[in-house]
C-alpha cells in the first residue's frame, strides 16, 4: 500500500513537471514574456506536487504506530498493568491480527486485535485521502501562481539551495549520531561502575558480569574489579607502539627516498605499489597475521629458546605496522616535496651532500607535517580492529612483553558485541564505554594532526 502510494506520488510529480512546462508554452504562445525558462514552470509545479505529499506521508509513517498503540492501550489504562505487560499485550494483539499468534487467546486480546485491525484500516484510508487532498490543494495553488505568470525560478532555486544545505548537514548529523549512540550507554555504564574503577582498575574480566542470574537485581559490588580498563588501554597503546616501530622507519625512509632520490620512473611504479598496501582490507591482514606471522614467530622463538605466544602482540603489531607504512610514506612524501626548492639550493650551495641537506635542512623544515602524518598513523593503529581481533589475544593481560598476548579496545568491543546483545546489561554498556574512549582518543589525535598539517601547509603556501 505504502509502495503504491509512493510510486503514485512520484508519477504525479513527473506528470506535473510536463504539465507545468506545457502551461509555460501556452503562456508564451499568447505573446506574453515568461519570467523564467519553461522548465522552471515544470519544476515549480512538480516540487509543489510532490514535496508536501512526501512530508505528510513520512510524518504519517513515523507517528501512525505510536498513535495506534496509544489508542489500543487506552482500553487497559485503568487496570494497573505495568509498562512491560502493556507492551506485551500490544504485541500479542498485533500478532493475532496478523494471524501469527500461537498462545492462548483471551477475549481481551481478541477485542484489541479487532480494534487494531479497524484502526489500521481507518488509518490507511485516511492517509490516502489526506495525501491526495494535500496534492490537489498544493498543485491548485502552484498552478494558479504559474498561470498568473509569477516568478518560478527563484523559489525553485531557493528550494534546491535548501536541499543542498540539508545534505551538507549529513556530516554533522553523523557526528551527532555517533556521540548520541555512545553517550547514553556510557552514562548508564558509569552509573553501575564508578568512573574511577574503569579508568584505574587493572582487572578486565567482563565475562564475569555475564554469569549473573537475570532475576537478580543489579548489585554493583558484583562488578567491582571486573571492568578495570587499564590493561585494555595499555594493550592498545602497546600494540600501536609496536606498529609504529615498524611503520615509522620504513614509511619515513621510503617517503624520503621517493621524494628526494628516486627517478621519475622508480617513483611512478614504486609509489602506487606501496599504496596497494593501504588498499588491502584489514581482515586480510588479520588472516595473514594469524595464519602466517603468528606461527612463524612462535617457531622462531621456540628455536631460540624463547616462549612466544601464538597470538603475540608482536605479530599483530608488526602486521599492523606494515599496513600503516603507506600512510606515513605518502604523507611524508607529500610534505617533503612541498618544502621549497630554495632551501635545498641554499644547502647545496654551502657544499652539503644530499643526505646532509635532508637531515639538517629539509627534515627540520618538514617536521611538523611529518609529525602530523605520524599522529594520523597512530590514530589508525589505535582504531584498527580486525588485525587485533584475529591475531592478538582476547584475554586482557597487563604486560609489556611483546611475545605475550594482549588485548585492545577494539578487540574487546568486538568480543563483547559479537552475537546477540542485551541492551541494559553492564557488559554491553562496557563496550559502548570503550567505544566512547576510543572515539575521544582518536578525535584528539585527529584534531591535533590535522591542525599541525594545516599550519604547516599554510607556512609554505
Amino acid at each position: 500500500m505504502n509502495l503504491i502510494l509512493f510510486t503514485f506520488i512520484v508519477l504525479l510529480g513527473f506528470t506535473s513537471y510536463y504539465f507545468g512546462r506545457k502551461k509555460a508554452y501556452t503562456i508564451q504562445s499568447t505573446k506574453k514574456r515568461l519570467t523564467a525558462l519553461p522548465q522552471f514552470y515544470g519544476y515549480y509545479l512538480a516540487i509543489w506536487c510532490a514535496i508536501p505529499a512526501f512530508i505528510i506521508f513520512s510524518l504519517w509513517a513515523i507517528f501512525e504506530p505510536t498513535i495506534v498503540k496509544l489508542l489500543i492501550l487506552s482500553d487497559y489504562s485503568n487496570q494497573g498493568y505495568l509498562d512491560d505487560e502493556l507492551n506485551l499485550l500490544y504485541e500479542k494483539s498485533k500478532a493475532l491480527s496478523r494471524g501469527q499468534f500461537t498462545g492462548e487467546i483471551t477475549p481481551f486480546i481478541e477485542a484489541s486485535a479487532e480494534k487494531y485491525l479497524s484502526l489500521r484500516s481507518i488509518a490507511q484510508s485516511s492517509k490516502v485521502v489526506i495525501v491526495l487532498s494535500a496534492i490537489i490543494a498544493s498543485v491548485a495553488y502552484a498552478y494558479k501562481r504559474i498561470s498568473s505568470n509569477s516568478r518560478t525560478r527563484e523559489p525553485v532555486e531557493k528550494f534546491l539551495n535548501a536541499v543542498l544545505f540539508t545534505a551538507s548537514l549529513a556530516a554533522i548529523l553523523t557526528t551527532v549520531g555517533i556521540v548520541f549512540s555512545l553517550i547514553f550507554q556510557t552514562i548508564d555504564f558509569f552509573k553501575v561502575i564508578p568512573l574511577f574503577d574503569f579508568v584505574f582498575g587493572t582487572h578486565w574480566y567482563p565475562a564475569k558480569a555475564f554469569v549473573r542470574d537475570s532475576s537478580e537485581a543489579l548489585d554493583p559490588t558484583m562488578y567491582s574489579d571486573t571492568f578495570g580498563a587499564v590493561p585494555i588501554f595499555a594493550g592498545t597503546f602497546f600494540i600501536a607502539f609496536i606498529a609504529m616501530c615498524v611503520a615509522i622507519p620504513i614509511g619515513l625512509m621510503s617517503g624520503i627516498y621517493l621524494a628526494e632520490y628516486a627517478s621519475t620512473k622508480v617513483r611512478q611504479y614504486a609509489k602506487p605499489l606501496i599504496e596497494i598496501l593501504a588498499g588491502i582490507p584489514t581482515v586480510v591482514y588479520g588472516f595473514f597475521a594469524a595464519l602466517t606471522v603468528g606461527p612463524f614467530l612462535k617457531e622462531l622463538g621456540t628455536s631460540m629458546g624463547l616462549e612466544v605466544s601464538a597470538e603475540s602482540a608482536l605479530a599483530a603489531g608488526g602486521v599492523m605496522g606494515i599496513m600503516i607504512i603507506p600512510f606515513i610514506s605518502s604523507l611524508s612524501d607529500d610534505v617533503i616535496t612541498s618544502v621549497p626548492q630554495s632551501l635545498r639550493d641554499g644547502s647545496y650551495a654551502m657544499g652539503a651532500t644530499k643526505s646532509e641537506t635532508i637531515k639538517r635542512v629539509i627534515f627540520p623544515a618538514a617536521l611538523p607535517g611529518i609529525v602530523g602524518s605520524i599522529l594520523l598513523g597512530v590514530s589508525r593503529a589505535v582504531g584498527e580492529t580486525m588485525i587485533v581481533v584475529m591475531a592478538s589475544g582476547l584475554a586482557a593481560n597487563l604486560t609489556l612483553n611483546p611475545l605475550e598476548s594482549t588485548s585492545t579496545i577494539t578487540a574487546q568491543i568486538v568480543v563483547i558485541l559479537i552475537g546477540d546483545q542485551a541492551f541494559g546489561d553492564p557488559k554491553t554498556q562496557a563496550a559502548f564505554a570503550l567505544g566512547m574512549s576510543l572515539f575521544l582518543v582518536t578525535l584528539c589525535l585527529n584534531i591535533v594532526a590535522l591542525r599541525v598539517v594545516k599550519k604547516y601547509r599554510e607556512k609554505y603556501e
Binding site: 554533522i172 588491502i280 582490507p281 586480510v284 588472516f287 643526505s355
Partner: protein, 422 residues
C-alpha cells in the same frame, strides 16, 4: 691536514651512500612485504578453485529406493536414496565390516544422497542400471588429494583414518578420483562443511550492501560537496562542517559499527544482520571520503568556466548544475568508486550489526540476513577445520580481484574523461 680533509670527505660520502641505501632498503622492505603477502595468499588459495570428486558406481535399485513400476516424477522426488547411497559407498570394499562401512560413508560429503538423487532426476531411465556417479569428496580427503594434509601424522591425530586412506589410494590408482573446477564455491551459500561451503551468500550480501551504500552516500555526498564548494558562505558554521567532515574521515570504522548498533538497530529497529543496515552504516563511513573527493574535483574546475556562464546570464544554480558539476563528475565518480572499494573491504562495523550470523541461504533482497565477503573471510578464518584455510585464501582472492577491478575502473574514468585544464 689535507689528508684529514680527504678522510672527512670520504666519510661524508660514505654517510651519503649509507643514507641512500637505507631509503632504498625501506622501499624494498615495503615491496617485499607486499610480495610475500600476495604470494602467500595465492599459494594457499589457488587449490580451493579445484574440487575433488570420487567416482563411485551406483546401482539404482528400484527395490531399495521403494519405487514401483513406472514411477512418476513425484515418486522419484520422494524416493528413498539413502540406502542405495550407503550401499554404493559400502560396495567400494566388499569385505568391510560395519565400522568400516561407516568410515566409507564419511569419505564423501553428507550431501552425497542428494547428488545421487539429482543424477536420477536428470535421467529417470537409470533405474535398475549401474552408473558411475561423481560424489563430492569429504573436505579432509580433498585436502589429502591436494597435498595439504600431512599424511605422516600418527593416526589418532588425523581426521582421516588409515583405512580411509587405503581405500582412497586404491581409488586414486584406479583413476576414480578426479579434480574439477569448483563451481559450487561460487554457487553455494555458506556451510558448516568445508567441501560444500561457497561464497554466493556473502557475495550477494556484499553487492546489496554496496548498492545501498552507493544509493545513500553518493547523492548526499555530492549535494553536500556542491553546497560547501559553490554556495556556502564563509562563516563559523561552514568551518564547523568542514572540521566535522575531516574528522569523520579519520574516525575508526568500528565506531560506525557502534553507531549502527546503537541507533539503527536499537532505536529504529531495522532488521538485524541485513545488508540494509550494513549498507547504511557503510554509507555514513564513505560519506566523508566522497565529499572530500567531490570537493577536490569541483575545486579543480577553473573559475573561467563559471565566469563565462554567469556572463551569459545564467543564475548561480544554473552555472553550477549545467557546467561546474558535469565537468567535475569524472573526479567525483572515481572518488566514489574508491570510497566504495574501501567500504567493500570493511569488516568490523558489519560484525557489530550482526552480519556474522551463519547464513546458509542466498539473500534475495537487502532485507534478508546475509554476510559479506570480508565477514565471510573472518568467519572461515575462525573455523578450525583445515579445509577452510584454502577457502579463506580463495575468498580473499575474489575480494582482492574486485578491489583491483574497482580501482582500475576509477583510474580509467579519471584518465579517460577528466579534462586537463592548463
Amino acid at each position: 691536514m689535507n689528508k684529514n680533509k680527504e678522510q672527512l670527505l670520504n666519510k661524508r660520502y660514505k654517510a651519503e651512500q649509507r643514507f641512500r641505501l637505507y631509503g632504498l632498503s625501506a622501499i624494498f622492505m615495503a615491496l617485499l612485504f607486499l610480495t610475500i603477502f600476495i604470494f602467500k595468499i595465492f599459494s594457499t588459495g589457488y587449490s580451493a578453485f579445484q574440487k575433488t570428486w570420487l567416482i563411485v558406481p551406483v546401482t539404482f535399485d528400484a527395490e531399495l529406493m521403494m519405487l514401483d513400476q513406472n514411477p512418476s516424477k513425484e515418486d522419484l522426488q520422494d524416493a528413498d536414496y539413502y540406502d542405495i547411497a550407503l550401499k554404493s559407498m559400502a560396495d567400494l570394499d566388499p569385505n568391510a565390516n560395519e565400522d568400516q562401512e561407516n568410515e566409507l560413508k564419511r569419505m564423501v560429503s553428507y550431501f552425497f544422497e542428494k547428488e545421487i538423487k539429482n543424477e536420477l532426476l536428470n535421467d529417470p531411465n537409470l533405474i535398475g542400471k549401474t552408473k558411475e556417479v561423481y560424489l563430492t569428496a569429504s573436505d579432509d580427503l580433498d585436502q589429502v588429494f591436494k597435498g595439504n594434509y600431512p599424511r605422516d601424522l600418527p593416526e589418532d591425530q588425523r581426521r582421516v583414518s588409515d583405512y580411509q586412506l587405503k581405500i582412497f589410494d586404491q581409488l586414486v590408482s584406479n583413476g576414480k578420483v578426479e579434480s574439477k573446477f569448483n563451481i559450487s564455491f561460487f554457487t553455494n551459500a555458506d556451510s558448516r562443511e568445508a567441501e560444500l561451503a561457497g561464497i554466493a551468500s556473502s557475495f550477494m550480501g556484499s553487492i546489496f550492501s554496496i548498492l545501498v551504500c552507493l544509493m545513500i552516500a553518493f547523492p548526499v555526498a555530492v549535494l553536500a560537496a556542491i553546497y560547501l564548494e559553490e554556495f556556502a558562505p564563509k562563516n563559523r558554521f561552514t568551518d564547523f562542517i568542514e572540521v566535522n567532515i575531516n574528522n569523520l574521515a579519520a574516525v575508526p570504522s568500528i565506531v560506525f559499527g557502534l553507531l549502527g548498533l546503537g541507533v539503527l538497530l536499537a532505536i529504529f529497529h531495522l532488521p538485524r544482520s541485513t545488508p540494509l543496515v550494513g549498507g547504511i552504516t557503510l554509507s555514513l563511513m564513505t560519506l566523508p571520503t566522497i565529499i572530500i573527493a567531490a570537493r577536490a574535483s569541483l575545486k579543480a574546475v577553473p573559475p573561467s568556466i563559471r565566469e563565462a556562464a554567469l556572463a551569459m546570464g545564467a543564475s548561480r544554480m544554473q552555472t553550477t548544475m549545467h557546467h561546474t558539476v558535469p565537468l567535475s563528475m569524472p573526479g567525483t565518480l572515481s572518488g566514489t568508486i574508491i570510497g566504495l572499494a574501501q567500504a567493500l573491504g570493511e569488516t568490523a562495523p558489519l560484525i557489530l550489526i550482526g552480519m556474522v550470523a551463519f547464513v546458509n541461504t542466498i539473500p534475495g533482497s537487502p532485507m534478508d540476513p546475509a554476510a559479506s565477503l570480508p565477514v565471510q573471510i573472518y568467519i572461515w578464518a575462525e573455523s578450525a577445520e583445515r579445509g577452510f584455510v584454502e577457502k579463506v585464501s580463495a575468498c580473499i582472492m575474489v575480494l582482492l580481484g574486485f578491489l583491483i577491478i574497482m580501482n582500475l575502473f576509477a583510474q580509467i574514468i579519471r584518465h579517460k574523461f577528466e579534462k586537463k585544464w592548463s
